[in-house]
């Protein structure tokens, strides 16, 4: 069966009075505070905000990696409890298993479902074709370029036909040209595999280019300060970036983000606080 025929049922998200605390003891702080929002099935939503504002923290909670300190978070009416293949997550840097070929990485989710080797490889190859990586199926992940690694990562998540596709600045580490190509590829895939997308970014152009709707977030504690609906027609291409409507909204977003007092906050991750402490050096003799 084709991957397109097995299209997922997009999920609906409801957050009510949602708060998340990070850190221990005296260092603890509310990364996001009393968020109320709803995301419709099949919507492409960008969460836009400055570094450290808690947008990745919210994504981590949606993926089930972080626990709420207050309020509720429902996906299709069910409270989020732990990670699930129904809620696929793409990190800023790829998390492909270095010891599996690209093909077996993409087939990983099917392996976890107990699907046989031949069948899961066949489906994985079809997914790779969708992201244009069919010729790299047998490579190790570290033999691919950054853009290819993210394409493999997206294929690996989509093979589970998730209700939600959660993306944490997935193209943030790529060069400008690759990023633009990846954005178009993502929209192209999204027209074929329609799922609810929550895409976190601090790049205004990226948010405006991709989204149906932008939720703008202010930092510490993170709150939504704007809910923008974009009416740009699809399919979108690079010419949109220079259209008057686009520039107008971009100015509006810049205005919103400029309100911040210029504090630079450390980047938060979907797994909590950034890990700076390296494990202690152990002389193993």
């Amino acid at each position: 069966m084709s991957v397109y025929q097995q299209a997922p049922t997009p999920g609906r998200i409801d957050g009510r009075q949602l708060s998340i605390r990070l850190g221990q003891g005296r260092e603890a702080f509310e990364a996001v505070q009393r968020l109320d929002f709803a995301i419709e099935p099949g919507e492409f939503v960008c969460i836009l905000g400055p570094s450290g504002c808690g947008k990745s923290t919210l994504l981590g909670a949606l993926a089930g990696h972080l626990q709420l300190s207050g309020g509720s978070l429902l996906v299709d009416g069910n409270a989020v409890a732990g990670p699930s293949p129904q809620r696929g997550m793409v990190f800023q840097h790829h998390t492909l298993l270095p010891w599996r070929s690209v093909l077996d990485n993409v087939a990983f989710g099917l392996k976890m479902q107990g699907i046989g080797k031949a069948q899961r490889r066949e489906q994985a190859l079809e997914m790779l074709r969708l992201v244009g990586l069919q010729d790299f199926a047998q490579r190790w992940p570290n033999q691919l370029s950054g853009g290819m690694q993210q394409r493999a990562e997206i294929a690996r998540v989509l093979i589970n036909r998730p209700r939600l596709l959660l993306m944490d600045e997935p193209f943030g580490a790529l060069d400008a040209q690759t990023r633009a190509r990846m954005q178009e590829l993502l929209l192209d895939i999204w027209t074929r595999i329609r799922t609810t997308v929550v895409f976190v970014t601090h790049d205004i152009d990226e948010a405006l280019f991709l989204a149906d709707r932008i939720l703008v977030m202010s930092p510490r504690p993170g709150r939504f300060i704007e809910d923008l609906r974009l009416e740009f027609p699809r399919p979108r291409n690079a010419s949109l970036l220079t259209s008057p409507g686009f520039t107008h909204l971009k100015r509006h977003c810049l205005e919103l983000l400029r309100h911040e007092d210029g504090r630079e906050l450390p980047r938060l991750t979907p797994l909590g606080l950034p890990t700076t402490d390296h494990p202690p050096l152990r002389i193993a003799l």
Partner: protein
């Protein structure tokens, strides 16, 4: 391969050392601090090695040494990797298992010899225990280190893709820690030979260490050097074997990711 021109100097250096040995032993050189009076010449060593090769004793000595190293090391590899995975993965296992092991760790395996002789019914078992102790800690600590070094994002990602506890251990933790485990296994191989030879000198019957020490007591001085060289060769071969097996088990890690 491209640096063939460097080999003449390397070989000349080796030859110079051999020559010095021959001259010093022949002249019974006495430097005050160190004396070559009783040191056999290379020719005498070669002769003794030839005799050992012809006799049936060699197989017995080699067989018992290899048997001891193999059983002690294998037990240490299994115990070290299993304990290391448990300690690295679970706080409970870390708190209950690590403190006693940390107390035992600074004690060199060789220091166990007297107690081991008292504790085990046969000297064979006590020697295997010494080998086991010598190899255990490098393997254990490197495994713990490797498990703790696995990127938490890989674990989170695997969970998001539907992996359960066991699948994460098998698919993420074990391969992620594998390069570190291989390092531990290679170091452990060296220490287990070192411990075995010492143990054999003290309580052995048969075995390369025993052979070397027996040669000293029987005043067969060339045989001492033969024993020493044999120990060196065996240690080198087994370490190389472990490294080769390790490279075979972690193909993504070696060779900059070239797929065979």
């Amino acid at each position: 391969m491209t640096q063939l021109y460097r080999w003449p100097l390397r070989l000349a250096s080796l030859a110079a050392c051999l020559l010095f040995w021959q001259v010093a032993a022949n002249q019974r050189l006495d430097l005050g601090l160190i004396a070559f009076t009783y040191v056999p010449t290379p020719a005498a060593v070669l002769d003794a090695a030839w005799h050992l090769l012809q006799s049936s004793k060699l197989a017995d000595h080699l067989g018992s040494s290899l048997g001891r190293v193999f059983s002690g090391y294998l037990a240490a590899a299994v115990a070290g990797v299993l304990l290391g995975l448990a300690i690295g993965r679970s706080k409970w296992a870390e708190d209950s298992l690590l403190p006693p092991l940390e107390v035992l760790r600074p004690i060199p395996a060789v220091a166990w010899i007297p107690l081991a002789i008292l504790m085990f019914p046969s000297s064979e078992a006590s020697m295997i225990f010494i080998t086991f102790t010598g190899a255990l800690f490098p393997i254990l600590l490197n495994t713990v280190h490797g498990v703790e070094g696995v990127d938490p994002r890989l674990v989170a990602s695997a969970r998001s893709l539907g992996a359960g506890r066991l699948a994460i251990l098998r698919e993420v933790i074990l391969p992620g820690a594998a390069p570190s485990i291989v390092t531990g296994l290679a170091i452990g191989m060296g220490t287990s030979w070192f411990c075995l030879v010492t143990a054999e000198m003290i309580s052995g019957q048969f075995g390369i260490g025993y052979y070397t020490w027996e040669s000293y007591t029987l005043q067969n001085y060339p045989d001492i050097v033969v024993g020493m060289l044999l120990i060196g060769v065996l240690g080198m071969v087994s370490s190389t074997l472990v490294r080769r097996l390790g490279a075979f088990a972690t193909p993504w890690y070696q060779s900059g990711g070239k797929r065979a």
